[in-house]
């Protein structure tokens, strides 16, 4: 596929407060670079991420959405990320079923100690989304930037 070098995707990352947000902080503390396309929204737990939020992001112009939470078994709230895993798996599967490109969505487990993983995941994700180009299948034309 043709990659548009000038395409700067909008990436929304939902990070749980206890692991992944802290992991993102750690990658900052360790000065590990990842693209500025990624904007993080802090949520208490990955299980707070409602499918509505993900669709909303695509509607408003996001080109990729990634959810990060504690590793299974390490959830601050003991079971939140297990629910996340089921919900998000099903949602992503449905988006795929509707023909939305799979690589626009991702779920990753990043612990508070995994600053390097956070940066690596974001680098990879941004690259994958760049390859896909702008989100056209799940955008709201009314929201497209003029």
């Amino acid at each position: 596929m043709q990659v548009n070098e000038n395409f700067e995707p909008v990436i929304v990352a939902f990070c749980c407060n206890w692991c992944s947000y802290a992991g993102a902080d750690l990658s900052g503390t360790n000065r590990l670079n990842y693209p500025a396309n990624v904007k993080i929204i802090r949520v208490p737990c990955s299980c707070r991420v409602n499918p509505m939020f993900i669709l909303r992001a695509f509607q408003r112009g996001a080109d990729g959405v990634i959810i990060c939470g504690c590793h299974p078994g390490d959830c601050h709230y003991t079971s939140g990320n297990y629910f996340t895993r089921r919900r998000i798996t099903l949602l992503y599967s449905m988006l795929d079923f509707l023909g939305i490109e799979r690589n626009r969505t991702r779920l990753e487990w990043v612990s508070a100690a995994e600053g390097a993983k956070f940066a690596a995941v974001m680098n990879q994700f941004v690259e994958d989304v760049k390859k896909l180009g702008p989100n056209r299948r799940l955008e709201d034309l009314r929201c497209r930037k003029q």
Binding site: R60, D140, R142, C143, Q146
Partner: protein, 339 residues
């Protein structure tokens, strides 16, 4: 009368479409038709009527009214109205053709709805006389003759040729614009076809339905009828009847925040919905009974009361076939008149 043979109909369509947008009913599935923008090679549907009515052409389901550009703390209002382009809708049935008259009474009376007016002025309605009505048809109840379908141009089919009769100056202009493709023809067979159709209409199961019991005079009697509870009992409050109805004209106006500004749009609303006419104080009709009653009272009582006895229903029968629970205006009329 001017005519074109059935085999040349598509050539006519091609010609019309050269100059303006043409919409014709086409089959989506066997005998399930919808209006489509004509593209060369499309075949006009033989189904009696489209699933959705033709009101969309003048009163679309959603329509942007204005835009507000927001940057920082400033708001700029943008008038997005623009003159529509001319278009032709071909194959409208008598019932739908009548529905435009009803919509006109709403949108073209003061204050005039400029969006509607704009579309109306630019649209030419070419109707098609019915020859094979369905059991759900009851247009004759409302004084409609499906064999004389009205619109700007009426088209009649005698089995071989389509005959054109212009009813309005706009219709006249339309016929003139394609007259080189038309030829004079013998319309003698038409009367027979029409008579035949009228006879079928008399045999239809709903042919005996009458509006005698309805109209503005009997407002309180019908409003207070004890039949509404039973009639509305199984209504789910969906908007199917209103959305397939050619005369339902209620809408809501909403603002959509695009992130960069606001788009103000209107969209169809349904009096069957629980949030219909919701205001700061709440809803004016809080039970499904009241909402259900509103819809039928509007069509059968309020509308004629305000419009010289004209009813807000054209008997197209769409709600009869599409209601998920098969509750419809015919059942309501029969229940209320049975006094």
């Amino acid at each position: 009368m001017l005519k074109i043979s059935a085999s040349n109909l598509n050539a006519l369509f091609d010609r019309i479409a050269e100059k303006q947008t043409l919409y014709i009913p086409v089959d989506r599935e066997p005998n399930v038709s919808e209006y489509k923008k004509y593209e060369s090679g499309m075949t006009m549907s033989k189904a009696l009527n489209t699933v959705r009515s033709a009101k969309d052409f003048f009163f679309p389901q959603t329509e942007n009214l204005a835009e507000f550009k927001v940057s920082g703390k400033t708001i700029e209002v943008k008038d997005i109205r623009k003159e529509n382009e001319d278009f032709v809708v071909f194959g409208v049935r008598a019932c739908d053709a009548r529905s435009f008259g009803i919509l006109d009474k709403v949108f073209l009376s003061e204050p005039v709805d400029s969006f509607y007016k704009n579309r109306r002025e630019h649209g030419t309605i070419v109707t098609m006389a019915c020859t094979r009505p369905a059991e759900t048809c009851f247009c004759t109840t409302f004084g409609i003759d499906p064999t004389v379908p009205g619109g700007d141009v009426s088209v009649f089919f005698d089995g071989e040729n389509y005959f054109f009769l212009d009813n309005t100056p706009k219709g006249e202009a339309f016929v003139a614009s394609v007259s080189d493709m038309l030829e004079d023809g013998d319309a003698s067979k038409l009367a027979e076809v029409q008579e035949n159709t009228r006879n079928i209409m008399k045999k239809l199961p709903l042919s005996g339905l009458s509006t005698d019991s309805f109209g503005g005079e009997r407002l309180m009697e019908h409003f207070n009828s004890d039949k509404w509870a039973e009639l509305s009992e199984s209504c789910f409050g969906c908007g199917t009847c209103t959305f397939v109805c050619p005369t339902c004209q209620c809408y809501d106006i909403r603002d959509f925040d695009t992130g960069n500004g606001i788009k103000r749009f209107r969209c169809w609303d349904s009096c069957m919905y629980s949030d219909f006419t919701k205001m700061a104080h709440g809803n004016s009709r809080n039970s499904q009974l009241e909402r259900f009653r509103q819809r039928f009272m509007h069509k059968l009582v309020y509308f004629p009361a305000n419009n010289n006895g004209e009813f807000g229903c054209v008997g197209c029968g769409r709600c009869l076939s599409k209601c998920p629970i098969s509750m419809n205006i015919v059942k309501v009329m029969k229940a209320l008149e049975d006094k």
